[in-house]
């Protein structure tokens, strides 16, 4: 447990240097700033569905996934690039602890930025006439998306050097275009799991009907999202551990 904690703390420190914090914090609050800017143009007619889309969709489908995949990819990928991975694996600890602690660290930092972004969005939403009641839903959705993408890209980053490029293409092209067009893929779409969890928790006052569009056939469900998150965590940590044990590429 001591080793797990040490790797977790070191990973959080690794992923939250000043440059990263400034960059990802700016990215996280960008939707909130956009909302405030657009509200001044008089585009919204009260709390309509456009506003609902603007609050939730870009945040959960782009900002949070991209933040999480960059940080997840760096968690082990940077250690591989900097050749510091031997510092971790030549220790009397199980490699599953190394992978789990790196994943937990990346997920924690990603979730931190997601929570910051959610808080900023809710603040902006309240400023244009909404209320703070949507914060838990947005926070849970953000954390779900953060954990899923972090876990997957810790694994991708441990295998390839260009995990960020792969991730961005995946989010913008695969999830954004291909999955969007093929309805039956929606149930396995990663950020839609977070959106589903958020929709499940949204108060009835939230103008959310338009958000059912991106979800299509997916039933908004916190339970499903949590199950998928747990599954992704289990599978990625297992594969990551196997790779760390079996390959020469440390």
């Amino acid at each position: 447990m001591r080793a797990f904690r040490a790797i977790f703390v070191a990973t959080v420190r690794q992923l939250s240097d000043r440059r990263k914090v400034m960059g990802f914090a700016t990215m996280a609050i960008a939707p909130a700033i956009l909302m405030l800017a657009l509200s001044r143009t008089g585009q919204f007619d009260g709390l309509d569905t456009d506003l609902g889309m603007l609050v939730v969709a870009p945040f959960l489908s782009m900002i949070v996934p991209i933040t999480a995949l960059i940080l997840g990819g760096a968690a082990v990928g940077d250690e591989r690039r900097d050749k510091t991975l031997s510092f971790l694996v030549l220790r009397p600890i199980r490699r599953v602890d190394v992978v789990a602690a790196k994943t937990a660290g990346a997920a924690a930092v990603s979730s931190g930025f997601a929570l910051l972004g959610a808080a900023a969005l809710v603040g902006a939403y309240a400023a244009v006439g909404g209320d703070f009641a949507i914060l838990p839903a947005l926070a849970v959705g953000g954390v779900v998306v953060s954990v899923i993408y972090s876990a997957i890209f810790v694994l991708v980053g441990s295998m390839v050097a260009r995990s960020t490029l792969i991730g961005v293409i995946y989010v913008l092209f695969i999830e954004g275009v291909i999955v969007e067009e093929i309805a039956r893929l929606h149930t396995v779409s990663l950020w839609r799991q977070g959106l589903g969890a958020a929709m499940d928790l949204m108060p009835g006052t939230f103008p959310a009907r338009a958000l059912l569009g991106p979800l299509r056939g997916t039933v908004p469900s916190l339970e499903n999202a949590l199950l998928l998150t747990a599954g992704v965590l289990g599978v990625t940590i297992a594969i990551g551990t196997l790779l760390l044990r079996r390959t020469d590429s440390v």
Binding site: R2, A3, R5, A6, I7, A10, R13, Q14, D17, D82, K83, T84, S86, F87, L88, V89, L90, R91, P92, I93, R94, R95, R245, R246, D248, V250
Partner: protein, 332 residues
């Protein structure tokens, strides 16, 4: 490849009763490498290598591409042998990570966490190794490499030599029985090298096993007499530096001889069957001989016969660098 030095080692360690013992092996091994090969596609990095390492310092030598780092990575468990077996404290490090509680490793790469201070790095190493950091182990390791004063500065601000010392401190914090050092003196200035070499000597004197890979031959010579030399992935020579040189009988030995009458001695030596070459150098002679011991035995009588007083007789090519040069010439 045949080197004429200790013959290619057997696939398994020799039995205790072998006499004389194969110099590639030690009596009480900490690390045993048995018939190990490693290939990457069609490239063979290490080929059927067998040797062992025990308490004290062993220098691992070889030119770039000889397979030293590959061997060290297999010994540490960072790399799986394509064939053969590596045992550390009698166990396979790939299957049993508990051996790492007794191992310290300093990689060749400039691999440090620049955002940590040296103290944080050493503490991190202590946490990962299960060492109780509250017992002064962290300060002790830093003190050992003379880094206490700079311990609270970020490693990213250190010179390369200081980063090396920080890495060594991190490797020492768990008080390892086996310390594996890949080019530990890289980037260190003379004073820092002296500190590190002194630390290594202390550890060796305390019965620890140190395996040091280095291309700075003079420094290896200062550290140890026992070397394992590798060429093209194979064991080229093993044992004491002078013993290796002595075993290279197919290469003439060079000796430096000084006397009170250099020219008279040269004239006498040139008629000697054992002398195959001779040249004047400074105030003495550098003689090439096919039989060093025979020349050494015959020289006093020869000198007396010609009324020459020999003041100095010493091998001129028994340095590690000379031995290494010979090994390289064999490859060419």
């Amino acid at each position: 490849m045949s080197t004429g030095v200790p013959s290619a080692p057997p696939a398994t360690p020799p039995a205790e009763t072998h006499a004389p013992r194969d110099p590639a092996y030690v009596d009480a091994p900490t690390v045993t490498v048995t018939g190990v090969s490693k290939w990457f596609g069609t490239k063979v990095a290490v080929s059927d290598l067998s040797c062992s390492f025990g308490p004290g310092i062993t220098g691992l030598l070889g030119p770039n591409g000889a397979g030293k780092t590959t061997l060290l990575r297999m010994v540490t468990g960072l790399m799986r042998p394509s064939e053969g077996d590596v045992r550390v404290f009698g166990r396979d490090p790939l299957e049993d990570p508990s051996v790492y509680a007794r191992v310290g490793f300093v990689p060749e790469d400039d691999a440090v966490y620049g955002y940590l201070t040296a103290r944080q790095l050493v503490r991190y190493a202590a946490d990962l190794s299960g060492t109780d950091a509250s017992t002064g182990a962290v300060d002790g390791a830093l003190d050992r490499v003379n880094m206490l004063d700079a311990a609270d500065r970020p490693i990213g601000q250190y010179s390369k030599g200081m980063r090396q010392r920080a890495k060594v401190a991190a490797a020492l914090v768990n008080d390892p029985d086996l310390l594996i050092l890949d080019e530990p003196l890289n980037g260190a200035d003379p004073a820092q090298r002296a500190v590190l070499i002194s630390t290594f000597h202390e550890l060796a004197a305390a019965g620890r096993t140190l395996l040091v890979s280095s291309h700075v031959l003079s420094e290896v010579e200062r550290m140890t007499d026992r070397v394992i030399a590798m060429l093209d992935g194979k064991l080229a020579a093993a044992g004491g530096i002078r013993a290796i040189r002595s075993a290279m009988t197919h290469i003439p030995h060079r000796v430096r001889i000084e006397s009170d009458n250099t020219r008279a001695l040269a004239a006498a030596l040139i008629d000697t069957r054992d002398v195959v070459g001779l040249r004047f150098q400074d105030d003495g002679l550098e003689v090439e001989t096919s039989n060093l011991s025979s020349l050494g035995t015959a020289l006093p009588a020869l000198a007396a016969k010609h009324g020459v007083h020999v003041t100095r007789f010493e091998p001129a090519d028994a340095s590690l660098e000379s031995v290494f040069r010979h090994l390289l010439s064999i490859r060419r």
